[in-house]
Symmetry: C2
Subunit: 335 residues, 2 copies
């Protein structure tokens, strides 16, 4: 009964904007970000206030890059990893734009693209900005330990990326790309309870959504120029390769993970990047650049999220996870 | 440039379902809830696990009440007040349905109605369930103090309602009502920093959205059978009356607040109810009942949310607030 996927005819991607942290600047995609910060607190007196100023800066930066005014934007749609998504909220307060707050952990960016695409394609708003991001220092102390404790990190852990990415979705013509399809994920839980090992926890959700994409559209991995997961990291993306292969849908060299793309191997992130910044940082820099240069025309972006809280973990729960997906089609491509 | 409101032609409200707590059962609307709990933990060993079981029960109850099967539902859209919206997430895990997680505090229910209406009206899904809820005992210990401390409550405080409400939005004909319009709120902050006094903090957001409704549709208070705010409580709704009157849009006897409707005066809630349960509990019992009985045909529901976190308050921030709104029209009414 339920549609397997959402079809969008007029959800154009007009522009993207990224602001990245210091470690991310030193990483593989360091030259591709629009702006990088020089101070982890961005001149504020707490990491949290620094994070929120990055959200505000990124959204204003996108509006300016697209040669628009603030009132040209119908709504901003997004969230972050902090409790009560305060970074997004306080940025929205400064911007004064209609605000839809979301939370699906690190899958929130793709969730925001789906909601933004519905809003524009369904003719409810002409222009919407979808956004998310994260900050290493705020996430560490909320989800794990204060940095000052100097706790050793597990070899299966990932590094929460610092950065914000945002995307302008428009009903007006764009020569860049459009969001052509969306898949809303289910909550999947394979019983992993090691909160350091989120890649392993999230891989089954990514597999569930990927298999649904392939079966619902009668496609295979080779039909896409790029299949990109959000933040499975090295271990998680290796597990995803195993899981999809078992189901008869092996992934080839066109499969990459945003968490693996952000850092060099010698940057001591262990399994690579994680966090709500991974997919928006990579999508709005690397992916849009390659679409602009006609090197990519059909891309699957699968946002992956680990949905536990410290409270649920303390109460003995395993890690529930989710994976939302969008198909991006360049205007030279076409489905 | 931006549309002032969203217009929906085919977002039908097919059915509603409520599950309420013990104190709520003893309140003004006690006889109208579908189910009430007898044990604050619902047989689980923590309040948090009790809360999540209420979410699962409510959504299953709605599907059953509407004579549908679980796979007839295209997506569930909602959230709750706990960090990382774990109550909604773990319920979604048990249900196995595509899940969109939202957070705009106590405005999340109306936010979920707007997203659900877009999803159905835009023909992306045939049937969506919008839901939210809250639980006194989990919210108190997360946002304020553990109950065991027995901290005295401020006279300006409100009582977080225990309950879940959910609504089936369908593209199929309904003889009940439809969501005809939606307004996405902006984040408003008038500088209130007393986290006990959320009614006063949220009243300016409700006023901002209400004035926008009246001016964008050229209507006044008397054009609606009922104008209902979410959880301003006694003090907050009195401030809202003052603010809207100053702007030339006085509210009459058709203005009520869900937080004020839930409890009797002698139930020691001080300023009345608050929490993400208020608007879905009242809407899916009292409002839908009166629409069914042809006593209401045009209703404005304004969800109000206080978007601070304990962290933002500890860091000296004031309380940012938001108010989303929907217009509900019965099939005998018509705009």
């Amino acid at each position: 009964m339920a549609n397997e996927f959402l079809t969008f005819k007029n959800a154009n991607i007009a522009e993207g904007f990224t602001i990245a942290g210091i470690k991310e600047k030193e990483g593989r995609l360091g030259d591709l970000y629009d702006v990088t910060i020089k101070d982890d607190k961005c001149g504020e007196n707490t990491f949290e206030k620094g994070e929120r100023s990055m959200f505000e800066y990124a959204i204003k930066g996108l509006i300016s890059k697209a040669n628009l005014e603030i009132n040209d934007i119908g709504a901003i749609v997004g969230g972050d990893l902090l409790n009560q998504i305060i970074s997004s909220t306080f940025a929205a307060r400064e911007l004064g734009l209609p605000f839809i707050g979301l939370y699906n952990a690190c899958a929130t960016y793709v969730e925001s693209l789906i909601i933004g695409a519905m809003m524009v394609d369904g003719d409810y708003k002409q222009r919407v900005i979808s956004f998310t991001g994260s900050h290493f220092s705020t996430a560490e102390r909320q989800y794990r330990y204060p940095l000052e404790l100097g706790v050793l990190r597990s070899p299966v852990s990932q590094w929460t990326a610092t950065g914000i990415g945002c995307t302008l979705i428009s009903s007006y013509n764009s020569k860049l790309a459009r969001i052509s399809r969306g898949w809303i994920g289910k909550v999947v839980d394979y019983g992993i309870d090691d909160v350091n090992n989120m890649g392993a926890a999230m891989a089954p959700a990514a597999s569930d959504t990927l298999i649904k994409i392939f079966t619902s559209t009668n496609t295979k991995s080779v039909d896409y120029d790029l299949i990109l997961t959000g933040d499975l990291g090295k271990l998680g993306s290796s597990i995803l390769r195993d899981l999809t292969k078992q189901e008869g849908y092996p992934l080839g060299e066109n499969y990459l993970d945003c968490g693996n793309l952000i850092y060099y191997d010698d940057q001591q992130t262990w399994q690579g990047g994680s966090g709500a910044a991974c997919s928006p940082l990579v999508f709005n820099s690397y992916v849009l650049k390659n679409i602009k240069e006609k090197k990519l025309s059909r891309v699957l972006l699968i946002g992956t999220g680990a949905l536990m809280s410290p409270t649920s973990s303390f109460q003995g729960d395993t890690i529930p996870t989710i994976a939302h997906a969008v198909e991006i089609t360049s205007f030279d491509g076409g489905v």
